[in-house]
């Protein structure tokens, strides 16, 4: 897929696995198909003040605000430590504007440890960049093509579900040269502190993730896979092998495990094993046999 040989189709998703190394006490990094890092910008970003998290029914709202150490620190301090691990590394990147996306893309031009970039066109928690690019097919295409030019790496477009129809935007990023599409990022949600009669989060809205969003994610993955020919990476509330198989049947080539990592940082191993057991029991020799069968 995307010109990279992944050992398995189960990745960690951005924002739920730190910079990758944080998972290492709990899982052999080589057991993860690919680590997708926390969103990285050219310069470090502070993120939003507290409160950042509120739990919801079978999920959570977050407003972290893309806090990150910046591309330079990632390159100097984190990537060398991933040198001896077998996992593939996908860096999730974002910018405040087109130039910001180009700047961060260019910083990975000569970074051979990085196998691909995942471009965040969908963060619901920042004013600039993020979701604004992900709602406009022309802007999204412009960003994708610029990051490919700047980084010379396979580029995955991470799209938002907070849109009426994903097809035009999926087709636009495919045409712009994206190697794959990741869906979905968080749904936009909110919570209200009734006692104080105020929104819980300073930004009022926040990103909802977890098992609660799985049915929506599955539908968007299915729609995206129907709209484009490039691979789709399914994300949204996956915590078991059966969840992952649902996404694969809906058309995903690979999946990303998100906040299930927060509960159990070894979840990915379990998901890989459950998929493998299912394939053995059902005499499936290649996931292609069940991919997109819905």
């Amino acid at each position: 897929m995307i010109g990279v040989k992944f050992s398995n189709p189960v990745f960690s998703s951005s924002g739920t696995s730190g910079y990758g190394l944080e998972l290492s006490p709990y899982i052999a990094l080589g057991d993860i198909g690919a680590i997708v890092t926390k969103g990285i910008s050219a310069k470090p970003k502070q993120g939003t003040p507290q409160p950042r998290i509120v739990e919801t029914a079978s999920g959570m709202l977050n407003s972290i605000g893309l806090q990150n150490i910046g591309a330079r620190k990632l390159i100097d301090n984190v990537l060398p430590k991933l040198e001896d691990t077998d996992t593939k590394v996908i860096v999730n990147v974002f910018g405040d504007n087109l130039d910001g996306y180009i700047e961060v893309g260019r910083m990975f031009l000569n970074e051979d440890r990085v196998d691909a970039l995942e471009v965040n066109l969908s963060c619901p928690n920042v004013k600039e960049g993020g979701i604004a690019f992900g709602r406009d097919p022309e802007l999204a295409a412009e960003v994708i093509s610029a990051v490919i030019d700047a980084s010379k790496k396979p580029v995955i477009a991470k799209l938002t579900p907070n849109i009426t129809d994903i097809s035009p935007i999926a087709k636009a990023v495919e045409k712009a040269g994206a190697s794959a599409i990741s869906v979905i990022n968080c749904l936009v949600g909110m919570a209200i502190d009734v006692e104080n009669r105020r929104p819980y989060f300073k930004n009022i809205t926040a990103g909802l993730s977890g098992p609660a969003i799985k049915p929506v994610a599955l539908r968007v993955v299915w729609e995206t896979a129907k709209a484009v020919d490039i691979p789709v990476l399914g994300i949204g509330g996956i915590s078991t092998g059966r969840d992952a198989l649902e996404f694969i049947m809906a058309g995903a080539t690979a999946v990303q495990v998100g906040i299930a990592n927060l509960i159990n940082p070894g979840t990915i191993s379990d998901v890989v094993e459950e998929i493998s057991d299912f394939c053995t029991e059902n005499k499936i020799s290649d996931l292609k046999e069940i991919r997109g069968i819905i």
């Binding site: 944080e22 709990y26 993120g47 507290q50 509120v54 029914a57 806090q67």
Partner: protein, 254 residues
Amino acid sequence: MKVKILSNREVAPEYFKLSFSATKELLKGRPGQFLMIRGDWGSDPFLRRPFSIYRCRKEDESVEILYRVVGRGTRLLSRLSAGDILDVLGPLGNGFPVFTNKGNLLLVSGGVGIAPLISLAESVGSGISLIAGGKTKHDVSYIADDVEELCIDVKYVTEDGSMGQKGTSVSVMREMVTPNDTVCACGPFGMLVEVQKLSVEIGFSAYVSCEEKMGCGVGLCFGCVVSGVDGEYLLVCKDGPVFDVQELSWDRNS
């Protein structure tokens, strides 16, 4: 890892002590370190909850946590009983430093913040001074058996005077503390702010155990940040939960 609950007792209204059989790994837990815990209840509530280690009984191979019922997670936890299964991740975070001189060590707690300090008292040894504060006697009374067993030199203080001295743990600390002391504190945010102010005024050193809502407890989600003294965000789960009181920016965190 999955462990079995040995007992789960309500020791004062809304306060519970929960003891579970612990693996070697869990018994390595140090005072001030914490555990991320959830019951075997499916996906709702989803997240684990952080709890300080209250007692670590190596001889019985058991660990005890102290908690107050404050929301859905702790409510569900309170309904579990001996024999039920818990899912525990830990021990996590940085605990209190190792103290060689207990003579000038002063432990100061507010409410359920007592939990990591009992653990610290147990590791330091008998005779350690503790100021245990709360709004009313129910917020402190439940430690009496542990205080006796561990020979802690305790001063109880309650805001309504229903147990021990009337006042707050900080007001009592102000009367006792000297510049040579090292204070270890855990309690509500407002109390920790007072400890910091007093540490500057009087000149003692202080370590505080902080609390923040956590998504993971292991540095993956960046949910539990507090402002450091230079304005940078620190993670309570990885950089803390115990901090030197001067490492944090108390204005920014207010």
